[in-house]
């Protein structure tokens, strides 16, 4: 006769799940209807072009993963061998910047450095003889992906190395272990355990990468599924092909996500700065020199495009840009949409977190999770399987019969960006929520504090900071996103990344650089704020 009292948190979670299901289900319905209407077209879309695109998608992702994860392993080990040197903290902080930087900003930074007219063009031309063609195509994609994922993988490996107990180091030093046996016996086992998860995460990020491939890919020779979906909808208008491409993309990401979960990967990527424990083994002179070289190379590689973004941005006529009507409108649109998306994202996340907690409290120890609890637990993860461009494509196809797809751009951008940011928002909020609930749950029950009273008197004061962290992070992600707006954007609804893409397309490179600087700075400030809020909240 176990009877569970109703809990408004569970209702809220169910509503949030329904909203997410509607967003994803609507996209799928759009795809299904479109595919069913034009079956022969869909079958015909399975042509050599499709297979070439699919092959390139996998190939560039595999290469990017190899080039990011291999060096990252060495750099992380080098950093962990030298737990205290001047600037170490700064380097680690710099390595968190790519997480905040919109892909289009990084792409521009890389072009400004290695492009046909980039700062290094002269050097490369001198080295190779003849004119430097720039790094469009596969090489451009790889450089950009490594720029994003080398720092991420480095931080994750460093975190893994941080889990080695201090006692093991003490023991190693007592036994007189040199660098090589210490690596083989102590560091490598930990790194090897972390390797599949980290490589899987990077691979996943690279097969769903859209903006980088769109801006640096250049031509049908270097196109991935996501970009092909976009082109099928925006340029060729070939819905049948879009459906097939989308299904292929979903199947691919689904397989990777399943494999990732099997490997126990951290599919969100952590923004924490690892703290180095005290070390008892000191590196020899030779090793120190090698490590210093490695770290310096990685630093140059990561800092280069950032520096180039700043320099080329400052060369732009910022005053004129700021006065331009289009820029002002895009800034306002971006800010408004990002605010709304962040608000929605945090609200949905909180609803899922609270429902999950309420359900797990109701469940006894050792009991099995119900369907709803499973959904509340992993619901946001669906977004990882269904990339934003796929959601956008589904709704684009569904809505074009009913309404003007470009008019609903704001709704789509807000909804998809909100859901896209949820895994990150949940990571920021959930630990704080669960800890607060651990302290307050019985007291609230005993005193009959529930519903709105509980939210305003108890939950809000203790969750303000983590909510703000999640909000700032979601806003930064939404501000920098190009995926959905690329499909739905038009002259009447332009965000900053969309405007940036347009300026790039019309070869107004200086304008694009100026906008990139603006966008990059705003996102960076938001993520720094998010980090600071999260840190303060912990103390």
């Amino acid at each position: 006769m176990r009877h569970a009292p109703s809990d408004s948190r569970i209702t809220a979670g169910a509503v949030a799940l329904a909203a997410i299901a509607l967003l994803i289900g609507g996209a799928f319905a759009g795809l299904a209807v479109e595919g069913a209407q034009d079956l022969s077209g869909a079958v015909a879309a399975f042509d050599s072009y499709l297979f070439r695109v699919a092959r390139f998608t996998l190939w560039q992702a595999a290469l990017s993963t190899l080039l990011s994860v291999g060096p990252a392993l060495l750099v992380a080990r080098a950093l962990s061998r030298h737990p205290a040197f001047p600037g170490r903290r700064l380097i680690l902080q710099l390595f968190t910047v790519p997480l905040a930087l919109p892909a289009i900003v990084a792409a521009l930074g890389i072009l400004a450095l290695y492009g046909r007219a980039g700062y290094f063009a002269g050097v490369f031309a001198g080295l190779g003889g003849g004119e430097w063609p720039g790094i469009y195509g596969l090489s451009g994609i790889l450089v950009a992906h490594v720029f994003f994922n080398l720092p991420l993988a480095t931080r994750l490996f460093l975190e893994a190395l941080g889990t080695i107990p201090t006692d093991q180091w003490r023991l190693a030093s007592q036994l007189g272990m040199g660098a090589r046996p210490a690596f083989r016996l102590i560091e490598w086992p930990v790194l090897r355990a972390a390797l599949p998860g980290i490589a899987g995460l990077v691979f996943m990020l690279c097969i769903t990468s859209f903006t980088i491939v769109l801006t640096l890919g250049g031509g049908p020779a270097a196109t991935t599924l996501e970009v092909a979906i976009y082109q099928a909808l925006r340029f060729d208008f070939d819905p049948a092909r879009a459906v097939v491409l989308t299904l292929l993309q979903i199947a691919l990401t689904f397989i990777v996500v399943v494999a990732l979960t099997r490997l126990g990967a951290n599919t969100v990527g952590d923004a924490n700065l690892p703290v180095a424990p005290r070390r008892y083994l000191s590196a020899g002179r030779m090793e120190s020199a090698l490590n210093a070289g490695l770290i310096a190379l990685a630093l140059l590689f990561v800092a280069g495009p950032m520096l180039a973004t700043v320099l080329s941005g400052l060369e732009a006529d910022l005053g004129r840009l700021a006065g331009e009507e289009a820029v002002r409108r895009a800034t306002l649109t971006s800010a408004g949409l990002a605010l709304l998306a962040a608000l929605l994202s945090v609200t949905l996340s909180l609803a899922l977190i609270a429902a999950r907690r309420a359900l797990s409290l109701r469940r006894r120890a050792g009991g099995a999770m119900g369907l709803l609890e499973h959904a509340a637990d992993t619901g946001a993860g669906f977004v990882l399987v269904v990339p934003p461009i796929v959601l956008g494509a589904g709704w684009f196809l569904a809505l074009r019969h009913v309404t003007d797809v470009f008019a609903i751009a704001p709704v789509m951008v807000v909804a998809v960006n909100a859901v896209m940011a949820m895994p990150f928002a949940i990571r920021a909020i959930r630990p704080a929520y669960d800890a607060a609930s651990e302290r307050h749950e019985r007291l609230c029950l005993a005193l009959g504090i529930s519903g709105w009273n509980r939210l305003s008197l108890i939950d809000w004061p203790s969750l303000r900071r983590p909510l703000a962290t999640g909000f700032a992070f979601a806003m930064a992600l939404s501000l920098g996103d190009l995926g959905v707006i690329a499909l739905f954007g038009s002259d009447s609804v332009q965000t900053l990344p969309y405007l940036l893409l347009a300026r790039m397309g019309s070869y107004r490179t200086a304008d694009a650089a100026g906008l990139a600087l603006l966008l990059g700075l705003v996102c960076l400030m938001l993520v720094v704020a998010a980090d600071w809020l999260g840190r303060e909240g912990k103390s």
Binding site: M1, R364, R442, L445, L447, G448, I449, L457, I458
Partner: protein, 260 residues
């Protein structure tokens, strides 16, 4: 049965009628009656079900079978806040971000809408537990003992006929613990509520306990007046639990005094 002039309502008897409950691997079965207006010390080894017993009475857990009756009324699945019960936990009795006054005031109104009369009642309750003038403090500005006093002030304000104490003084030093127990005994003398308190310390039980209930392996193994438990005729399992040290606590103090 609170009367308008503030005199307290009397305690109500607590009865567990064939209550069974399981939690993971552990299972419990309780049949007991705690008389109204008495102070009962709940003792027993870790995992014997002391906290579970209190949680079932308070409504944090719902029995798989059987009934919990307070004052003869079956509480069924009534939520904790609707039961004639106040409970003080070992920790987390206060909301860290709310002032002492607000934390006590929540005992009057869960939406914290307090009128002047309520504020006066809060101040009186705080004065009764020795915290007069500390209304605006935050919990982190109080000592551990003071925090539990705030919780007791809220108990006074809620004025429920049953008070459950789940080791609320376990982390306090011996002298402070005695003070707090005396405070509970004083409140009990005024309000005559039924008190069940969990403790690991025989001295605590001897100090204010009128009855003792001894729990072992998920069931109530023995109950009776406290004095019967602490002389040599107490149940064997209980004497093993407190450790038969060839004399009672008071006895050993007596010996110590002789030697000086």
């Amino acid at each position: 049965m609170t009367t308008s002039n503030g005199t307290a309502q009397k305690g109500l008897a607590v009865r567990l009628d064939g209550v069974s409950f399981s939690y993971g691997e552990a299972s419990f079965r309780f049949d007991a009656e705690f008389a109204d207006g008495r102070i009962t010390a709940i003792m027993g080894p870790s995992g014997s079900g002391k906290s579970t017993l209190l949680n079932l009475i308070a409504g944090f857990e719902v029995p798989d079978a059987g009934k919990v009756l307070i004052g003869g009324t079956d509480l069924g699945t009534a939520p904790p806040s609707a039961r004639p019960v106040s409970m003080v936990f070992q920790e987390n009795n206060l909301f860290a971000h709310l002032s002492v006054e607000a934390n006590v005031g929540l005992g009057r109104s869960p939406s914290l809408k307090l009128g002047d009369a309520d504020r006066i009642a809060v101040a009186e309750a705080l004065a009764r537990v020795g915290l007069a003038g500390k209304e605006k403090r935050l919990p982190r500005e109080l000592s551990g003992g003071e925090r539990q006093r705030v919780a007791l002030a809220r108990v006074l304000l809620r004025d429920r006929p049953v008070l459950l104490l789940d080791e609320p003084f376990a982390s306090l030093g011996p002298a402070l613990r005695d003070d707090m127990l005396d405070l509970v005994a004083g409140i009990h003398a005024e309000r005559k509520m039924t008190v069940l308190f969990v403790t690991h310390q025989p001295e605590d039980a001897r100090r204010i306990g009128q009855d003792v209930a001894f729990l072992d392996e998920g069931t109530i193994a023995a109950t009776g007046p406290a004095e019967d438990f602490f002389d040599r005729s107490g149940p064997d399992a209980f004497r093993r639990y407190i450790g038969d040290r060839g004399g009672t606590v008071a006895g050993s103090q007596h010996i110590a005094r002789k030697r000086t």
